[in-house]
Symmetry: D2
Subunit: 135 residues, 4 copies
């Protein structure tokens, strides 16, 4: 309930950059995939993971993006988390991106929490679980 509310309000705003525009005035797909990473990192940080931990402890296992409508240069987009599933060592994050009132992209990423030394999956720390629980 609280999580739902928290996520509902967890939003980042991205101002598309001119160099992210492709030959037809759209934002290119690679830039959008990169923005989704911005969202994920900010979410992890907001849940208590420092930047160093983000870099060292979390690896991206998979990503899936649906490009539903065109995204243009010239107006901001908002990205928000629409789903968060905390597994044992994995974290599934769903997002959507709006430009104005148009839904342009939906994405899902699965991150795995790693033990740095052994490079094996490792249980997501209780602090992060609690951060999520307290939302």
């Amino acid at each position: 309930m609280k999580l739902e509310k928290y996520l509902k309000e967890f939003t980042i705003t991205i101002t598309p950059r001119f160099y992210e525009t492709d030959a037809l005035g759209h934002i290119n797909n690679i830039a959008i995939t990169a923005w989704f990473e911005v969202l994920r990192v900010r979410l992890l940080e907001s849940l208590g993971s420092g930047a160093a931990s983000v870099a060292k402890n979390w690896v991206l296992a998979s990503i899936a993006m649906d490009y539903i409508d065109e995204t243009f240069y010239g107006s901001d987009v908002t990205m928000k988390v629409t789903g968060l599933v905390v597994g044992n060592s994995s974290l599934k994050i769903q997002c959507q991106m709006m430009q104005g009132d148009r839904l342009t992209v939906r994405g899902t990423a699965v991150l795995v929490h790693l033990d740095i030394d052994t490079k094996k999956p490792r249980r997501i720390p209780d602090e992060l679980r609690e951060s999520v629980a307290q939302l």
Copy 2:
């Protein structure tokens, strides 16, 4: 049959660039997603689509990537097409990426062929179908 053989041999080689390396000496996921676009564009070109047509007539509808193992700076990767499904107006391309003898990434992309003027999906041209058929 021939298609299978063609695809089997359709390979591009990418030399990872230093700036594509992340904090831990791995190649970052965004760079790999970008390389997959290189593969798709080269495939379309090899099937007879010129660069202008690639930019104007094809849009990416979805992408899914599985990051199976780490990709490092310092040795080339090879990317190849492992599946190609020609629909009415859509093209599904599956790929895999190896670094040495390790499979590091698998990906699937769905492209849609567009009518530039109406921006509606449009039947994939016969020439491309024939290119595929003649493989």
Copy 3:
């Protein structure tokens, strides 16, 4: 005078993105060069050039960057224009970038205004000169 004041206040804020971080936790130089383009495009837009015109009429002739101090992930930077010289067909833009109270980068770019058809340099339009004059 007014120009000086305008430029003094013309500032953009960039939040470094995690994927722009290099192996040592610094922002990589290529990202900073890209941010400088963001500043230039915003400046041209603020002087009345639309995005289409920015893409078609202006080419970058040269760029020079001095990386004075490290820029880190985790806090915003501000970029501002510190000099603007309007020539016949060229525009020289100087900028500096601060992170907190540290000056980290200085840059200079020379843009040339082009006639799209002939691809020859072309006098910078009076409207833009007037925009600058009215500052």
Copy 4:
């Protein structure tokens, strides 16, 4: 003399990537700046610096690029070192880029060799000097 010959032959070939193309079918300037980094890193590696050392011991102090002519998608470019000046702790690298028989870009970069711990400039190691001397 030998150095001149070595540098004359030190060339890297870059195949422009489709996503590096801007709105007008040119390669964008940021991509070219990134390619110049590829050249510098390869040069350092060829002079005996490992990738780890490149990341940790060398920082970019300044860069200057002249975009002399357009670079297009669709044909390879070659980049070569046209000058190398070994200072006490700094290294100045000049390069040029050709696409076919057209000179499209000239660039200069100054790198500084750092002591990792103190972050102070540090004399360029004799091994690298000898590598250069033996060219």
